[in-house]
Symmetry: C3
Subunit: 143 residues, 3 copies
């Protein structure tokens, strides 16, 4: 089963816990796994702890790794054609390399087999944006 | 088929080769893939070469990227509630971003389809710890 | 279905768009996902935008993160046995940690469910090389 999930984001960098939305997709699965893909090149998926301080540490590290104020070839609009209202987001693309565009999570008895402290995050790196889309495929041995 | 694998670790950072343990799970699979998830937020999975010097280079790079001695909001126990014996492990969480919480590996004729120099590592980033758990799901086209 | 794809690379670092080659493998799939694994320890897979400036930004960031001219234990051939013509490629191994050895992508009606700006790249980090191999498994609910 293929499903699309839609999200909108409010901040430039935002970690949105999507664990419950994914769980709603696999309630009837006995054994299997779910594959989730973000359809955007300035976003990512991340499995870690939903703790506010950690999210702040992550944001600081992302800024340190690929600073907002810096020269990026991707943003050099003299060198390439760009859309009329295209954003300068070279730093957003570079920051995605800490995350995954797709993840796979085992499922049993209608539950994601995550550990006690694990949440699944959709990571916005170029927000705010409307119409962010995730695609999920549920792979079940019983079909 | 969903299976749990248990490990304990002895060092703060440790790369444990789990290739053989994964292979024992897929001996009867003709064609398919295995999905493996670590259930912890200060661990990761990594596919690379089992070479001692490289592991040392990795450990050095992890320390350089997120130093042990550094201020992390996650460890600021004035700002958040914490468990009685909670460790200061902000650096461990940040270091996970170089690895994956889950990986998928194609399987054929009872073998992981890894290359000649590839091993699968469980990466401990906040050890030593007992009771680390991996969850594996084997997806086979013939069921 | 398990398939092998072969590539050769011409530069030390090279981002090769393999989206079309993957699409040729899933034309008959109604719903499912494809798992792709690179079989090499100095290569990776990456899903992002096929834009020349961005690729240059990525190459610069990789050099900054793990410089070519630097001491790596992995390259210290006094300390370990090595093959007769083994390359010094410690920096290549370290650079792989920004990418994935394997990825999973949902498939519907014979198409990869990628977003408008997403391409799948095979990332060479120790080229030029002949005989790079990818392994793909197509998992379909209808079998």
């Amino acid at each position: 089963m293929i499903t699309a999930l839609n999200l909108s984001t409010k901040e430039n960098i935002e970690f949105i816990d999507i664990t419950e939305r994914l769980e709603s997709l696999i309630k009837d699965v006995n054994e299997g796994h779910i594959v989730v893909l973000t359809q955007h090149t300035t976003t990512g998926l991340w499995i870690n702890e939903a703790e506010e301080g950690l999210i702040k540490d992550m944001k600081r590290k992302l800024e340190e790794f690929a600073p907002t104020e810096h020269y990026y070839e991707h943003d050099d609009f003299k060198k390439r054609k760009c859309l009329e209202d295209e954003r300068r987001n070279g730093f957003s693309h570079l920051r995605t390399i800490f995350f995954n565009s797709s993840i796979a999570i085992p499922v049993k008895s209608g539950k994601l087999m995550l550990g006690k402290y694990q949440s699944v995050f959709f990571v916005e790196l170029d927000g705010p944006r409307e119409n962010r889309t995730l695609i999920a495929h549920v792979c079940s041995n019983k079909v």
